[in-house]
Amino acid sequence: MEKKKSAGRELVKGILKENPLFVLVLGTCPALAVTTSAANGVGMGIAATVVLILSNLVISLLRKVVPDRVRIPVYITVIASLVTILQFLLEAYLPELNKSLGIFIPLITVNCIILGRAEAYARNNGPWLSILDGLGMGIGFTIALLFMGGIREILGFGTFFGMPVPWITEGGLQPMMIFGLPAGGFAIFGLMVAITNSLTRRFYKRQPLETMDRAHYPGSVSPSTDAIYEATEVHDGPRPSRTPDPSAVPEALTKPGALVAETSDKKDESEEAK
């Protein structure tokens, strides 16, 4: 009973609590590039899920064989081989999807989600749990891409999975091309991250500080993604704080009435001059 419960949790956590795209912010490149339509988004999501499950399984089986020092090259080779197999399958059975995803199929190799899960999960857990983790993360990624692709396709082209959406095409609303272009991708992604943040804050009572260090990094992505860069960051002195230095602010702006007094003084002077 106990084990079953934890297995369920492994599966579910990837969907909202640790959604790879919107919460962990991994795999952003394909997420932005291929989500011009819902179908492309789902195709990419499923392709990445298949690779993720298989790579988690293989790496979890190899976890006691591979020495720690060479593990990253081994993981990359395993993932790249799986991606090559997947590319063959797509070329044979879904040539259209393969064409529209283009170089982003081979680029699944360097998708941080897959290497990230290998390093963070499959390395320390058995094959069964690793498969569930891969499946959960993959579903979360696919759902995220479906949302991004769906929103961008509806707003940008007025269709959903290639079918016209009546309230856009017949309601007199023009599709806005910008959402199909890179600029719209960034904007929709930003909005989705903001919405997911407030959802997780409500459901999991998570403080914003846990997901991002907002006091120090106004532009922080999240601790999991920052960690890599944190180690390399060149620190010169303390970080600038967001509250302005009190001595730098003119007194007129902090004391109530000071500004009024100053201007009225000037008025008096000019009247005297007359």
Partner: protein, 196 residues
């Protein structure tokens, strides 16, 4: 000469690596908090991009393609890039310590930067000649640098802005990236008008 110029301009401005091809977004979001990091990463990317192209291009066209192993490109390229990065790190540390200080710490991050593998694959896909492939890699690197520098400036301004709590953190950064990307849309059609 003209074709070099066209490839260079289109890689830098029109098909900008970060803002319109969406490659290297992780480092774009992670390392644009200050100019020093952005500069170090950009130099490292240009450098590795050029060396990796010089190595992978001959491997593909003189070894893989003649024996019909073109489909192994992903596996071979990623291993070559990883090896190139390791070797470069060792060479630069020994021979040019100042350069190592400037970009050394960013080198390991590059192996998983999809910009490098992406550009290698694009160069093969477009079946460029060797010269064109090198120019395209240089252009991609310069475009990456341009995007990094522009965005660092934008983010330094944003640190002082008062952003609503709903959008604080990553969302506001992405919104800013969206606006920077709009500005690059203005370059669409430049090539047709310049070179007819």
């Amino acid at each position: 000469m003209k074709s070099f110029l066209i490839i260079m301009l289109s890689m830098v401005l029109i098909d900008n690596l970060v803002l319109s091809r969406f490659l290297g977004i992780c480092s774009f979001l992670g390392l644009t908090k200050n100019l020093k990091n952005a500069m170090g990463m950009s130099i490292a990317v240009i450098f590795v991009m050029l060396v990796a192209t010089a190595v992978t291009y001959p491997i593909y066209w003189s070894i893989l393609e003649p024996v019909n192993l073109g489909y192994l490109q992903t596996v071979v390229f990623i291993l070559v890039i990883a090896a190139v990065v390791q070797v470069l790190e060792a060479i630069i540390r020994k021979t040019f310590p100042p350069l190592y200080e400037a970009m050394g710490i960013y080198l390991p991050l590059i192996t998983t930067n999809c910009a490098i593998l992406g550009v290698m694959l694009i160069n093969i896909q477009e079946s460029y000649g060797f010269g064109d492939a090198m120019i395209s890699s240089l252009g991609a690197g310069v475009g990456y640098t341009l995007a990094m520098f522009l965005f660092t400036g934008v983010r330094e301004k944003m640190e002082k802005a008062d952003i609503p709590p709903f959008l604080e953190g990553l969302p506001s950064t992405l919104m800013a990236a969206s606006i920077v990307s709009v500005s690059f849309m203005g370059f669409k059609g430049v090539i047709e008008n310049l070179f007819g």
